[in-house]
Symmetry: C2
């Protein structure tokens, strides 16, 4: 579907920073839509008692985000050809680590779609509560639309990304500034849920409070998801690629921290109360449906100006859908790299063929739909699965960077003076600069590893075990695929001597009817001037061999019709025997079986034709020294097709 | 699966009457397992008030059965080559009537499986009440076992049929005689449900009573299902085939009437009470589960001798499973005849190929499973769908016979004296005998048509509408398939002049790697001595064309490697263009594209190989003047297979 793109055209699509930001940062920026909410939800398990700790949790998340952004800026500089976790860990940590990263990323792409779409729909539902009962169908519909758009291969311009992303940033900034002004002039008005109590199932105190705090932190870490996208996309930046990417990353980091902090402060100031289930809220009116935190804050800040919550909900939903779309772009690219490296079926590597892209997109969309259906489109429950994969790839990527710096340090020591640049052009790569860079990445690696442990322990029983199974499963699968390809390649290494030519060629034309396709197959067979040529028909109890022989004679063909008797009423068996017999007489000969085939225009016609031919071909393939020549004859229904199936005309 | 049978072996399996009875009559005899029950269930809708009419309903059913058996005996005499409803109506009533009969029979085979299996399990459950909650899974398991046994193609000897059938007859006769003896000596003891009342939803009186009576009659007509089997199976009888079949039919008719009457009388004498739902029974202990009528009767008659009910339940279940098996035999045979006549995809006609049989069996088993699941294995509800198809084919078959006799009468009048025999050998076919025979069939046709109308009106809203949709749908489908085949056949009629030979043959070998399969494909291509020969590789951004070219040169092949550039990163497009270009230079030439293919041993390996080749082949098929030669190379995993997939070794 869609027009193919020349490989060269990729060069024309280099992005300026102002367009690269929306294209690569919609995913991390969109995390603000749910990060604050997730912290509040986790703390609500301890009732109202722990809510005062929310700012500290948010601060920890912001610091972590800053460290990770600093770490990844270095990756952008060092890997201008694209520094995804898979690439970085393959170059520095070896195959197994890179495959773990790849498995984590593949699982994460599926979860990105599921989480982003369900969070987007949750915001829509907050603005238009009457849609609430249809959340799951809405999510599934959104995924189907995304899948179809991407299957069509419509090329989104940067502007399609720019509007929702900048719109989201703008409208949230407006909300934050407005809220700040109101805070100065008499305080932020209370949110609609400000009066509610929370009946937390946990009497938080001592160790339990610490556990809840850690859980809140790990849920808040969703703010970090998607940071990786920029380092993946370095090749799409305008030169100097590394520097521009690093700058974009910095802008993204600052923006995310500002938005995240602003939303969190306003949510606390307006005393937003949320709970994992509405039953935990006390004092709520009957039929009370929880809105998302960001919409509640907008409601509170705007007062009677209802346009703000609507705009916030709309742009939030839009940027979340964009974030899901990021996964639809990223999944096939990663699958393509893995396919080219032999870790996934090779056809994933054929990026140009849209038929192949489809497979990856359908797997992605199907997996996301399954998750949404299984988890009832509940963002909070899906989030539990989400960030494990993110932090696995963070940790591996940072650890890989540490190795990278160590190697460069050693190289520098060996060379006396290096040639590259650590930061920016022209700077002398002194050992101190390298050591500082390594320290940044080591700090990032240690922190993200720590968070990974926290996330694993606090979330394992809340659904994270699914991911803990899925990532190793994907890992084992990729190893198995690669092992298979390696075996086959070794097996098929051509021997030193030349391949011997077959002594003679025997042509066998399969005849079931005396019709045009059969006569054409015979004509083609004759044109190849084989050493022997036989037209073979199988006589079963059902076939009218007398009529066939008469029609054959009427055609006055120079090839006599050989009739094989089939005592078992089977067509394939006698043909196989006949062919095997020819081969036995001349083991160095080759037999070419010509099979007339009908090419049909509609898939259902396929059921009505070629079935015997198909079975015969499958069985012939298992005999040595045989080649199978299909002679297609297009029926009128196929010739009338304007566009043959699966054909992207480019002649 | 299983060893193939020579066509000639069919001759050896002619059946003596004592084995033909169980083989062909298990279906009609098994109907006694539920016919009485169905009458009582229908009458129970009017409470206890209408139960005294049961004997009259049973009598009407018995008379109808006698008429139908008499009618079908004549069919056996006249169609020794097999007189199924499809054959008889095609010969006498034309194509459309025969297709209606065929559609009715196909639908009926599915229902036979569903009804027989669910009734069989209902009897098992009556004997072992603890199985009651598992009725549906038990039914599905039974169908799967039947399907697997038939897919294996195990050839049942007549004895496998003889034991359950004669066992069923014997055990029910013992029960009837025992019951008669007890009736003489102080009366039949009451059944376990004798004390219960029935709260019928209908206050039966006047027209409503008549309606219920008609409904009871139409449900009782299930006793007639399966009578057709004997007339289908005439060719399997020992000669004189017609006479032996007619005699077997007569024995079956007498036996069925005796068993049916006996069970009905005993059920009334022991005052068995059944209702469509347990809630309609009054005075039942809590948790009361209804047993089948035949098991209740056996319980009552045997008193403390618990072996009788167990034997009755066991043999009833066994004969019902046999009856289901009849459908598993009949469906593929009918589908085969329809396939040979072009009304179903042609591959159904290849009886010898077990792969094809499988399709029919899987459709049959799948349909039956679906019905059992949808109707919760409730025999009573499935029965509502059942006998419409039976009576459609009865009516068409009898009407066809009337036409048949009329023609013979005309023929006789024309010839002065005929040559055939009406009944038995040696009898002079006087016009009177022909007219009597016609009268019998006319009577049968009229009665069965009347019953069909009754059944349709009384059962339409109870599920019969499904069948009323399914039969025309099957009819339309078969017509469409035939129309398609006819069109194609006309289209492919060879013209009067000879087919012109292609001027030259151009060979193109597709190269993706320099491995053994590719070199073998090249060797085969060279062996065919084409006019031109090119080895073609496609250069995309991902392919390492330098390595390929070096390896190619290392092999010192006499064919240079042609590199096609692919700006669209697509492999198929450039090859298509290249081939089209060759054809354009010589429109009377033919291009043979040699594609090396990997033959793998496991289905999952298929995902990892040949995908580009497959896509290329599909697209090449749509270009004129091209043939596609697959050169299969068996990987070690395929060579190690003892038995290639789908291969019934018979060399």
């Amino acid at each position: 579907m869609g027009r193919p793109l020349r490989s060269a055209q990729v060069g024309r699509t280099l992005l300026p920073k102002r367009l690269a930001l929306p294209v690569f940062c919609s995913d991390p920026l969109s995390s603000n839509a749910y990060a604050t909410e997730e912290i509040l939800l986790a703390l609500s398990l301890g009732g109202l008692a722990l809510l005062h700790l929310a700012p500290w949790v948010a601060l920890a998340v912001a610091v972590l985000l800053a460290v990770v952004v600093l770490s990844y800026r270095q990756t952008c500089h060092e890997y201008p050809q694209g520094g995804g976790a898979y690439t970085v860990s393959r170059e520095n940590l070896g195959t197994n680590a890179s495959l773990v990263a790849a498995a984590a990323l593949l699982v994460d792409y599926v979860l990105t779609v599921a989480v982003s779409v369900s969070a987007g729909v949750a915001n829509l539902v907050s603005a238009v509560p009457s849609l609430a009962p249809h959340a799951v169908p809405l999510c599934l519909a959104a995924i189907v639309v995304l899948a179809v758009v991407n299957l069509r291969g419509a090329r989104q311009s940067g502007f399609v990304f720019a509007i929702p992303t900048y719109g989201f940033i703008a409208v949230v900034l407006v909300m934050i500034v407005w809220g700040a002004l109101r805070a100065v002039h008499g305080g932020v008005p209370p949110a609609e849920s400000a009066g509610l109590g929370i009946r937390g199932p946990v009497q938080a105190g001592g160790l339990l409070a610490v556990a809840l705090l850690l859980r809140a932190f790990s849920q808040g870490c969703t703010a970090l998801t998607g940071v990786e996208a920029v380092s993946n996309g370095v090749p799409s930046f305008r030169p100097p690629k590394g520097r521009n990417a690093a700058d974009t990353l910095a802008v993204m980091g600052v923006l995310t921290i500002v938005l995240f902090a602003g939303i969190t402060v306003l949510a606390l100031a307006s005393r937003v109360r949320v709970a994992p289930s509405p039953g935990m809220l006390t004092g709520a009116p009957p039929g009370y449906a929880q809105k998302t935190v960001i919409v509640q804050v907008a409601d509170a800040v705007a007062g009677h100006a209802a346009w703000l919550p609507f705009l916030v909900a709309g742009f939030t939903a839009a940027i979340l859908v964009l974030a899901a779309n990021t996964a639809f772009n990223g999944f096939p690219v990663l699958a393509g790299i893995l396919g080219a490296d032999g870790y996934l079926p090779r056809q994933f590597a054929h990026r140009g063929d849209r038929l192949v892209f489809s497979n990856g997109l359908i797997i992605l969309a199907g997996g996301a739909c399954l998750l949404i259906w299984a988890f009832d489109a509940a963002t909070t429950r899906l989030i539990q699965l989400y960030i494990i994969g993110v932090f696995v790839s963070f940790t591996l990527s940072q650890a890989g960077m540490v190795r990278h710096w160590t190697r460069r340090l050693r190289q520098g020591a060996a060379d006396g003076a290096g040639t590259g640049a650590v930061h920016g052009a022209g700077a002398v790569p002194r050992a101190r600069a390298l050591r500082r860079a390594r320290a940044v990445n080591a700090c990032g690696a240690a922190l993200t590893a720590l968070v990974l442990v926290v996330v694993l322990t606090t979330k394992f029983t809340h659904g994270a075990w699914i991911v803990v199974i899925a990532i190793p499963a994907a890992f084992v699968l990729m190893k198995a695929v690669r092992r298979h390809y390696t075996h086959v390649e070794e097996e098929l290494q051509p021997p030193a001597g030349a391949v011997t030519l077959p002594a003679r060629v025997h042509a066998v034309v399969l005849v079931t009817r005396c019709d045009i396709p059969t006569l054409e197959a015979l004509a083609f067979a004759r044109a190849t001037h084989p050493d022997t040529l036989a037209a073979v028909a199988v006589q079963t109890t059902g076939t009218d061999i007398v009529t066939l022989r008469r029609q054959w004679d009427d055609q006055r063909l120079p090839v006599p019709l050989t009739i094989l008797d089939s005592p078992y009423r089977d067509i394939t068996g006698p043909v196989l025997d006949y062919v095997t017999h020819i081969r036995r007489r001349g083991p160095r000969d080759v037999v070419c079986v010509f099979i007339p085939e009908y090419v049909v225009g509609h898939w259902w016609e396929q059921v009505l034709h070629n079935q015997s031919a198909l079975r015969l071909k499958i069985r012939l393939r298992h005999r040595p020294g045989i080649m199978i020549a299909s002679v297609p004859w297009r029926l009128a229904s196929a010739r009338n097709l304007k566009q043959p199936p699966g054909h992207t005309s480019n002649q």
